[in-house]
Symmetry: C2
Subunit: 315 residues, 2 copies
């Protein structure tokens, strides 16, 4: 059997390209741009490694997308189903990393490190009274692997945690107080801190809008899920005229965040550039996943993180 032809999208997380280009079991192709990816897939490429999607990538020879992200809202799932394309995600590969990133953003708000870092440019030594997480109430929106990892860390640090989940029944993670999404506003009112760790809604509508921010009141919000989860104009309003104490955003409605967004200039905001999952350990862990799925692709062994099987289509 000839080696499968694996097309690498030019934009991949750290270590993934290194793993694949040195892989003895595949024929790796590394186009330099999106048009090159489409051309390689038109020319018989069977496997695509990507997190970015373009409609030109769905060619007749495509059989497996080895995704490098945890989400899948960008993919045309009906088109994949129609021609039997398998999609595997990287869910779980960056769980710890994103959970730590959520706390990095949250602590940058509560300990006012975002302001202190910006003071450094002016060599400004400013007393800044921070806050403590211990004893605070944290609402985690989305109790998948990342939400659970955030909840575990918070519990270990003396916080009280509640979680919101579309289907609380059958949940077997670390959070005892699991609520259905119908209790969103009540949960925002209860919480000191809201952390968003869920995928985008299929229709792209926000979960957190003006009503939820008003319910949260003088609290903090952190988003390591998807930018579309927060109504950004409502967030800007709650920061400028409302009681919201701070927002930590690794994702924004439009990425990169446009230069004219007032979020860039608000001292109560800390923004990172969708870096939550980026770590040098990513490639190694993703490679283990890829290798097992490569065996499944060759008919030996079972898939991991296959959408519609291990990974539910709706969450």
């Amino acid at each position: 059997m000839s080696k499968p032809s694996v097309v690498l999208h030019p934009n991949l997380p750290p270590g993934v390209r290194e793993h694949l280009e040195a892989h003895p079991g595949i024929a790796a192709l590394s186009p330099s741009d999106s048009a090159g990816v489409a051309a390689a897939l038109s020319d018989g490429g069977e496997v695509l490694v990507t997190h970015t999607w373009d409609s030109a990538f769905l060619t007749p020879s495509l059989r497996w997308i080895a995704g490098t992200g945890a989400g899948f809202e960008q993919y045309p799932l009906a088109g994949f189903d129609a021609q039997g394309v398998v999609l595997t995600t990287a869910a779980g590969v960056h769980t710890d990393c994103v959970a730590e990133h959520a706390f990095a953003l949250l602590l940058a708000l509560t300990r006012r490190i975002g302001e202190a870092a910006r003071n450094m440019e002016r060599a400004r030594w400013e007393p800044l009274i921070g806050e403590e997480l211990v004893g605070k109430k944290l609402a985690v929106i989305g109790l998948g692997r990342i939400g659970d990892a955030i909840a575990r860390r918070a519990q270990a640090w003396g916080m009280t945690v509640a979680g919101l989940k579309r289907n609380p029944a059958g949940y077997a993670g670390p959070v005892a107080d699991v609520r259905g999404t119908d209790r969103l506003a009540e949960t925002c009112a209860w919480a000191d801190i809201v952390v968003l760790a869920s995928p985008a809604r299929p229709d792209g509508r926000p979960v957190i809008g003006a009503r939820e921010l008003e319910a949260l009141g003088p609290g903090w919000i952190v988003n390591v899920g998807r930018g579309s989860l927060i109504d950004e104009p409502a967030l800007i309003g709650a920061l400028s005229t409302g009681r919201l104490r701070g927002a930590g955003l690794d994702v924004t409605a439009t990425e990169p965040l446009p230069a004219d967004s007032p979020l860039w200039r608000d001292p109560k905001v800390v923004i990172s550039a969708h870096n939550g999952g980026a770590s040098p350990g990513f490639g190694k862990r993703w490679g283990v996943l890829f290798d097992q799925n490569l065996a499944a692709f060759a008919g030996a062994g079972s898939w991991i993180n296959r959408l519609g099987q291990d990974i539910p289509r709706g969450t």
Copy 2:
């Protein structure tokens, strides 16, 4: 019995002044500057609430210093002994707060939030590959209350922790791997991350110098103890020409850090202005401590955090 005359230093942590000025059991005096403090103490003041010391404060009427900090290196202990002045510290009051601050600085380095925050001024959306704490080796220098609180948080997040202590014998905290200070260099070589959480040495000499930074190699260092614990020129050298990956400093050799220090301009550095213990919860917790000590001062009940009794003079 008349109410004790309590002199409040003008520079106090949040909530302390409010607690004392509303206190029915004391006669609170609030001078506006250091000279006023000395005058009030020369005029019969018995109790001084302060973290800042000036030799003019040691008057014949002074009987009790109710300290608002955990350290005591600034005080003339022999002078206090000579006239029977009691010193109580605020040890324990900001334990959780400082432990969280240490992680805020550490995560700002490993998740590159310090750089991301500085990018905000230029509306710059920059991919930054961070690191993960899980699985990393953390050396805590100083296993007092704060060091223990840092160790507990690290253990709960999947880090391996070793601690350095002058007298490992009799230690009963959360760290199993406790080493004597004679194993400092070896411990720096072992560690990925060094966190300093000890008081200053009595002689003011640094614990971490060029040799220890060389041993640490491509790691991170965080200081929430005292600025004198790190040889600052050696730190600057390790950042500019060595392998050190980052430094998070809540304390510096000279405070405020001079504007011409290269530490202000290094992207691998995050500096906060000795804010580790600052939280709105401070005053309330300190007030509980003060009230019990006020009873002890009046002869009813026992002292808490009294130096030489509950708090050892050497650590």
